[in-house]
Amino acid sequence: MSHWNPAPFAQQLLDLFASLLLLIAFAMLSQRRILTLIHLFAWQGLILTLSIADSAWLTHQPHLYYSAALTLIIKVLILPLLLHRLIRRLDVVWDVETLINIPTTMLVGIGLVVFSFNLALPISHFSSTILRNTLGIALASVLLSFMMMITRRKAVPQVIGFLALENGLFLAATSATYGMPMVVELGVALDVLVGMFIFGIFFFQIRETFDSLDIRHMEKLKEE
């Protein structure tokens, strides 16, 4: 015990963060309150930040620190704040119901996790990064967020699902190839931000047109 090697610890920390992300993805899937959903989203962003920072430290890749900082600013601070303001102004704190009941959703979610681990297993053999174990988790959280978008009936949770999906993609990119080029990351971050603004405007428009944010009303737009 001459020298303490930080690598195994950091490695284990990474796995811990990854499993926390998965846990949060499930929590989001089962959560009905919009406010809690936003908090969960912020937590997910924070853990993503920590996990990226950890891997940056572990692999000595300075550009990953920038990614982490970007994630922290946009996904932990700005987006949750925006969403908060949005739901206060729209006055929709409650998400009433999901299309499929929550236990069923959770069961399907477990199936998705199994599927994505199965999918990631052969891929991670090819990958040489230390984060390769988390690829399965990243895919699973992408699919779970997608699932959340499908099962929600209101527009705001769908958007949160979309943002969470983006988090999962970010994790997948980091775990498979140590992150995308900086330009791409910046671009994606900007996209998400702009997307959020546009969604905000849409929410108001939708509510003005239909007096509700329930997307069932949009079915009327279909041509008979």
């Binding site: 299309l99 599927f115 199965n118 999918l119 052969p122 699919l143 997608f146 699932m147 978008m149 499908i150 099962t151 929600r152 009936r153 769908q158 997307i215 069932r216 949009m218 079915e219 009327k220 737009l221 279909k222 041509e223």
Partner: protein
Amino acid sequence: MPLLPLDLVGLILTGWSGLGLLGLVLPARLGRCLLFPLIAGLSALMAGAGLWALQGGAQTLVLPIGLPGMPFHLRLDVLSAFFLTLLGLAGSGISAYATGYFRHMAETQPGDFQRLILLYALFLASMGMVLVADDAYFFMVAWESMALSSYFLVTTDHEIPAIREAGFLYLLMAHLGAIALLLCFGLLQSGTGGDYAFATLRHHSLTSFWSSTAFILALIGFGAKAGLLPLHTWLPEAHPAAPSPVSALMSGIMLKMALYGLLRVLFDLLGQPLWWWGALLVGLGSLTALFGVLFAAVQSDIKRLLAWSSVENMGLILSGLGLTLLFHGAGQETVAALALAAVLYHALNHAFFKGLLFLGAGSVLHATAERNMAKLGGLIRVMPWVAGLSLVGALSLAGLPPFNGFVSEWLLLQAYLLRPDLPQPWLNMVLPLGAAVLALVGALAGFAMVKFYGIVFLGQARGLVLSEVQDIGVWERFGMGWMALGCVLLGLFPSSVILQLDTVTHALVGQGLGASAARHGWLWVTPVSANRASYSPLILFAVIGVSVGLTFLGVRRFFHGRWRRAPAWDCGYPFQTARMQDSADGFGQPIKQIFESFFGLSREIPSPFDSHPHYHSEVRDPLWALCYLPLVRGVARLVKWVGVLQQGRISTYLLFSFTTLMALLALVTGSRP
């Protein structure tokens, strides 16, 4: 640098387009008097350039415009030259006629007229470009601008819903054809790895399966333009809808572009034909001819009658093309050259007589504002020019000697009857049937022309006030006279024409007809040998002239000279009106009865006790019900299925992408070793 025919052609094409653009700027009245004669002059020049190029070899030119790396290639060979001659000859007559015809329009709707003259010039120029294009890309550009400019010309009177519908149908079929052509050129290019220049495609051979596919695609693409069964439906709708000079251009010239395209693809690009290509073309062509002439015989709209007759003539031409392919494939090049000469000759003749007849119909329409033959009649007395010149066209179309229609149909008949031994014995037995169909079609075309001419120009006026009808002006006379002169000259000097066609047949099938046809001097046409058949129109014409003259003199000489003027016998019924004449419907009645199974007939016959009896009869194209309506129903059913997917629910749409994603992921996992 000496001026080459191709340079001249390029200059004329530019000149046409420039005149069209000038038409947008100039005031309509000036534009009409100045631009149409100039366009006609350039057309005549084009005919000269074509004739000039017919004597020499091919010339090529690469223009520095087009896509990057894909410049426009131009090439003028004898095949292009022949069709350029056709374009120029018929185009100049029609354009001269248009100078007079659009007088009224230029004065009342100057804005519309300015657009019309631009489109008219572009239409001519794009047809010229089709003929000199030497790469698939430029060809398609020219082909599509031809289709689009003619579409806008067809819908000149777009206020009328029926014309809009006709235009839509035309546009639809033109696009279907263009898609088939695109695929065809894609197939021809596949594997060369090079550009789409015809020079590359020419030296590239396909397997028999793929070349057959390319043939079918070309047949669909060009057949849709030529009015080949069952893609003819747009033709009898769109051609009558256009203003008459445009109808003449479309029927007389544009249909020949389809023939040119087929010849170019089949003989130049595709290589050795398979035997069934020719058989298919002969069958489809004969069927088209029969179908077209039957429908022409029962129409009562003058322009629609002529349009159906165009279907018939294109059918004849394509069946001749099929014969050429059959003989060419079997190595019987002499007969192939005979059939090909007949095809080209008939294409030229059809441009003249159909152009002439459409111009005549246009004059009648313009003077009386009536296109229903049931309301016309007796026009020969007030429109002697139109009547006289149309008679030439009608006789030519009916295939009567000594006019031009007879020569080409006779040559085609010779090609059918010569029938060398083909490798397929059953074809040897079936081909004479084609000759029989040709004879039947000729007879029925005569019937249709008797109806056309007799009902419109002869007899008594049916409800029209004849004194208000005026004959045509100088420009119209000149235009129609030009076309009529063409009909007569092409009929009287066939051996000279065949000599000109020689270079084309040499280039395509390696044999000429000129040496044998003119063997017995320029007076006689002898396609194969003198003891089989030969024809001398001049001698025939002289015999007709002399016998008519002798009869006339004889009657004058030996007639006793006692005159008595009396009314004709009225069958004992004294109260006769003009409405009791044989009508267009009545005249076509026997054909309707005999060939009833061909027509989709619907008739309303009044009961004898009806106080206001009303008779209505409609002939519909049965192919609509047979081919098109099932297609429409099928598409509608398919669309309904697609409509099931469209739920209007975001969740469902998301689910679609989700399942697609999952399936693709599973596929990726499964396919990896």
